[in-house]
Amino acid sequence: MARITCAAIALLIALAPALHAQAPGVDVTGMLDTYYKGGRDEAVARAAGLSDLGPFRLRFVQDSPVWVNQDPARIDARSAAAAAFLLEVTAARLESDWGRFSDLIEWTCVRLRATARPTEFERAWHAASHALAGRARARQWLLGLSPRLPHQKPVTDRPMKANERPPATHLMHALERFPDDPQFQLSRVVAWSWGRDSEPMRNVERDGGDAPARRTRAPQLEALVTLEPLTSIAVVAPEAWIRIGLVHFSVGDYASALRAFESAQPIANETSMKYLAGFNAGRALEGLQRADDAMLAYRRALEIVPDAESATVALTSLQFMRDDRDAAVSAIERVFGRKPVAADPGRLMGYGSFMRWPDLKAAMRKALP
């Protein structure tokens, strides 16, 4: 209880400027009622359509605990609904307002953790929250100021600056509650790699004079120590292999990257993982100067996700350079001549589990008590 009180006080201090503002028309209680009774999209749309989020933030902190406690027999269910509602509103305003929601998410996390036993809803809620943090690549918010992998010795955090609040370490809270969850373990190492991954989506780097040294000393190679054991856990093995491949790719070790992507191919079940295994194999093959094989890999990836933008750009850029101009132009005009139809895993792979947000949101809703 003391933790909740502290978190609430800290958040209210952060919201202090908004305390002076009026909050006309922001009926968070009504939105929560609507969400709780099944009008989920409607409630989220109402909140997401607000022009000023300040009053919403204030009202959420002030009113949601009252709303949760209105029915003592259903506190768990109402608490879960409030938490899920917050994540869905965050997703709707994610691009422009991540920083306006992250502290509310952690405040909600503290409240969920106050229950004695972790629940399946809490697990699903955490997984969904990690996806949103992935889009923001919020490494410190997930892991703290000095993130370490399990095999690494802890280090003392750098001194805090004046008026600086410690980061939430949101993912570490999830791991405290669900220490054996392989998805959270994978999320941890993926988040750790942000900022160290040399843009995994970037096209093949040119080898400079220090290329061999880069391959053996690059800090992101530490991630392999954590990733490799995860390849033996079926539920995360395909992505673990893909992440291993991306680490190798980022240091220019294309042969190792290709082996990892090929290891993922036969075991991948999800469409996004199948696609990433094939698409990234193409990128590794490009790195190995095997353009024909790379084009074949891109074509196979496009069989998995037809008209995916990432493989289309990769394939057509090779075709264009090789003067297979008609095929390149035709594909580009087809894919980019219409509105995008679905999220492209190849565009989203640098953002952790964000590519799974629709599924994670559905799972979170399903787990609502």
């Binding site: 691009e95 040399s198 850029s317 580009i332 001549g337």
Partner: protein, 302 residues
């Protein structure tokens, strides 16, 4: 030998089309089996020079002087691609961008075509190719934290205009790529193989970035090495400009459009040069050295 980008390959199909095109266009696009088309603008100080003939130009292909036809393209309809960088670095000016799109589209002639490219988590086409003058339904949004400038330019550069048309790309961006699949070098290659003329209007929105949006995370590996956007523009015969979103950017676009409509297409059948790969091209007006000539710097032969 079949020749590649920067070329219009006008073969039997185009010869048959020529029968249905106006007389002026028949003169412009003479049916040939191998032809290279080089865009060139000629200016005295800031004014376009439009009265030159083929005899006034000297064009070299890999150092070998070629025999050319020179034709102004005043009456040729245009395909205009406008690329608006809607990433975090410029996103604060979304309203300016929207009004700019409307203003720019109005400058085009009825037989021109227009499309709009923007960027978010993907390269988007909020306005697909459409006839100029048609109402524009704008659905633009800003997506911070990612900036697919190179990928968008590649998409723009691959467009192949129909016979008798030319392709102008105007990119309004700060040129900072973040998260593209393609690197700058490949875009530069593509610009050499493209039939478009690319103009870059540098616009920036620094200082007006919402710190609470998702942050930019990537570190462009190209940073500080080569200014690929500017080099790509130069390679196509275009140029780099600096402006601000809003009225200044519209005025800059108007100048680019005016210059483009008053530029020349120099066509020739390569003579005395062989080989695949990059062909360096130079264009001069020898009798008038005071003139400024901007021309495509070459083409890839295949």
């Amino acid at each position: 030998m079949k020749r590649g980008s920067g070329l219009f390959l006008l073969s039997a199909i185009l010869a048959s089309l020529a029968a249905t095109t106006p007389a002026r266009e028949q003169a412009v696009f003479r049916a040939q089996t191998e032809s290279v088309a080089i865009s060139a603008s000629v200016k005295r100080n800031n004014a376009a020079v439009v009265n030159l003939s083929a005899a006034d130009f000297r064009l070299t292909d890999n150092g070998v002087t070629q025999s050319i036809d020179a034709v102004t393209i005043e009456s040729v309809p245009l395909d205009v691609t406008l690329f608006m960088d809607t990433s975090g670095s410029t996103a604060g000016s979304l309203d300016h961008m929207k009004s700019n799109v409307i203003s720019i589209a109005k400058m085009l002639r009825p037989d021109d075509q227009f499309r709009l490219l923007t960027i978010g988590l993907s390269v988007d086409t909020p306005v697909p190719w459409q006839r100029a003058g048609n109402p524009i339904a704008l659905d633009m949004k800003a997506v911070p934290g990612i900036s697919l400038v190179y990928d968008a330019l590649f998409v723009a550069l691959t467009h192949t205009p129909a016979a008798g048309r030319r392709h102008l790309i105007v990119a309004m961006t700060d040129g900072q790529d973040c998260g593209s699949l393609l690197d700058g070098a490949r875009v530069l290659d593509a610009s050499g193989r493209s039939e478009a003329v690319l103009h870059w209007i540098y616009v920036s929105n620094q200082g007006d970035f919402d710190q609470l949006s998702v942050p930019a995370w990537c570190t462009p590996t190209d940073a500080g090495e080569v200014d690929f956007v500017a080099e790509s523009a130069t390679r196509t015969g275009g140029d780099s400009h600096r402006s601000r979103l809003g009225d200044p950017a519209v005025r800059t676009f108007a100048q680019i459009l005016e210059e483009f409509r008053r530029s020349y297409v120099l066509r020739y059948s390569p003579n005395g040069v062989t080989g695949n790969g990059w062909h360096a091209v130079t264009v001069q007006v020898p009798a008038q050295p005071a003139l400024t000539v901007k021309a495509r710097s070459g083409y890839f032969a295949r």
